[in-house]
Amino acid sequence: MKILVCISKTPDTTTKIAFTEGNTKLDENGVQWIINPYDEWYSLVKAIELKEKDAAVTIHLITVGGADTEPIIRKALALGGDEAIRVNNNSNDSFVVAQEIAAIAKEGAYDLVLTGKETIDYNSASIGSMLCALLDQNFISAAVKLDINGNSLHVVREIDGGEETCELNLPAIISCQKGMAEQRIPNMRGIMAARTKPLKVTEASVSSATTHIKNFELPPAKSGVKLVDPANMDELVRLLKEEAKVI
């Protein structure tokens, strides 16, 4: 079985977000870059678990981005995965990114494509669904559990207020979230091995974006917390009723 795991580079969760160039670009000063947590903790580690159970599994990683994504890819390879592909396209339009991934996925005839349920930068949660249309394969979103038996998949996905279990066959696309696997830390052997694993770079093949970012904005600063005397909860109820108008 061939698995393609989609990897995205995002700012660390605790990054203080600021913008430059007239609020059109993320200020990368002091930003620590990480593998998008949903890609790393859930989809990549899930793929590694599948390979540990079945040595015939091959894992390829794909990222769409510039050369500055390579440290992230190497880190992903240190966790696991046999080789990586970087498509040299800096677009932040999901449609463009999905088309680049779809081209690689078709060429490599993967049985299973795993993505995170969203990236923590643009929060678009779009790539898996777009691949569903581009590859014309089944797509299960926000999966919390995946078992594979030969050609058949048993997947549990989150629905509003509960969970749904479905059965389907390969090939398929699955977006992963908490529950799929547990976070791992790369070990020294993995880090050493990652240095020599193949990282293939292919040039961008898609250029026509369907959207573009005009500008960013930070939310208005909270006017400051209004402290209420713990002995006067009637006052808090009054504020929630009359000022905030939420109850």
Binding site: M130, G161, E164, E167, L168, T210, I213, F216, P219, M233
Partner: protein, 320 residues
């Protein structure tokens, strides 16, 4: 024409769809066109009532096979319907099913998409949609450059606006491809409003010291009619079920009121709740970072403050 996708679950229309219709109706008015709804499958709800939220027509693909959700089939049928009806803008709720289908529909229509929109588009020059990015830490204004446009809206960001009106309902004859996935079971948490749909949420953290102390929180939730949530350490320690975990890696919510009890407010937790309209923080540590993100704060012992708040709410309700 603005076409709004009606999401259903076990033949009931989801609450998020009413808000999507109201958003679509406001956008249609802004663009000088009509707002029409699209339902796949059959539901128990009275479809003419969708007029109350602003849809003038409901197009129904009356095929019971569509009552189970399949992202591939649903997106194919929605795209075909959009083409047949000549929709120029498609609106989805950014709930779990909306996220699964809207981007696929955009691909099939060659349309630009903005997911997680939090306001009506600006359409005076171009078509610019504002969405939350960096897990609620910022907003981005994104221009859609294609003729057909797709938007999914964050829940509780616009509000469902109810007025008078009846929608006309008509059948839309479309071929529905056969699904190749089988849904074998659905587990819903009985008797609870799904957290993502709740307008009032009471949430507890490690400050409550153990699962045996959750009674004060549950009493408050009951008095308010609120859903209950918790922080990650609480669900990791199995004090509360995993489906209650809100935060970066749990569920992201945007209720009207979020009351955090004994939660310090780590950035990962804030990422899941910072779109709430009003945040109340109850914590005995006045240095808890959560106070910086709160609208109202109470510095005090949860085991005294929370029962007092519950009593004050019950008193105010009995006076109303």
């Amino acid at each position: 024409m603005v076409l709004i996708y009606i999401d259903q679950d076990q033949q009931e229309i989801k609450k998020a769809s009413f808000e999507a219709i109201s958003y679509g109706a406001a956008l249609a008015k802004q663009l000088g066109t009509t707002a029409e709804a699209l339902l796949l499958g059959t539901v128990k709800d009275n479809l003419t009532d969708l007029g109350k939220w602003g849809a003038i027509k409901v197009h129904q693909v009356n095929n019971t096979a569509l009552n189970s959700f399949d992202a591939k089939i649903n997106s194919t049928v929605i795209a075909e319907a959009a083409k047949m009806l000549g929709a120029t803008v498609l609106i989805f709720a950014h709930n779990l099913n909306g996220r699964a289908v809207a981007p696929a529909v955009a691909v099939k229509l060659g349309a630009g998409i903005v997911t997680g929109a939090c306001a009506l588009p600006k359409t005076d020059a171009g078509f610019v949609v504002t969405k939350t990015v960096f897990s609620g830490k910022a907003f981005a204004s994104i221009q859609i450059d294609t003729a057909v446009k797709v938007i999914s809206i964050n829940q509780n960001s616009f509000g469902a606006v109810m007025s008078d009106g009846n929608a006309t309902v008509s059948d839309l004859a479309l071929t529905v491809p056969a699904s190749t996935l089988k849904i074998t079971s659905v587990n819903k948490i009985e008797g609870e409003v799904p957290l993502t749909e709740a307008s009032l949420v009471v949430s507890g953290g490690r400050g409550l010291k153990g699962p045996e102390h959750w009674g004060v929180l549950l009493d408050l939730a009951k008095a308010l009619g609120a859903s209950t949530a918790c922080s990650r350490p609480v669900s990791d320690a199995d004090w509360r079920p995993h489906h209650e975990h809100v935060g970066q890696t749990g569920i992201q919510i945007a209720p009207n009121l979020y009351i955090a009890i004994g939660i310090s407010g780590a950035i990962q937790h804030l990422a899941g709740v910072n779109r709430s309209k009003t945040i109340v923080v109850i914590n005995k540590d006045s240095e808890a970072p959560f106070f910086k993100a709160a609208d109202y704060g109470v510095v005090g012992d949860a085991f005294e403050v929370v029962p007092a708040l519950t009593a004050a709410i019950l008193k105010s309700k009995s006076n109303a």
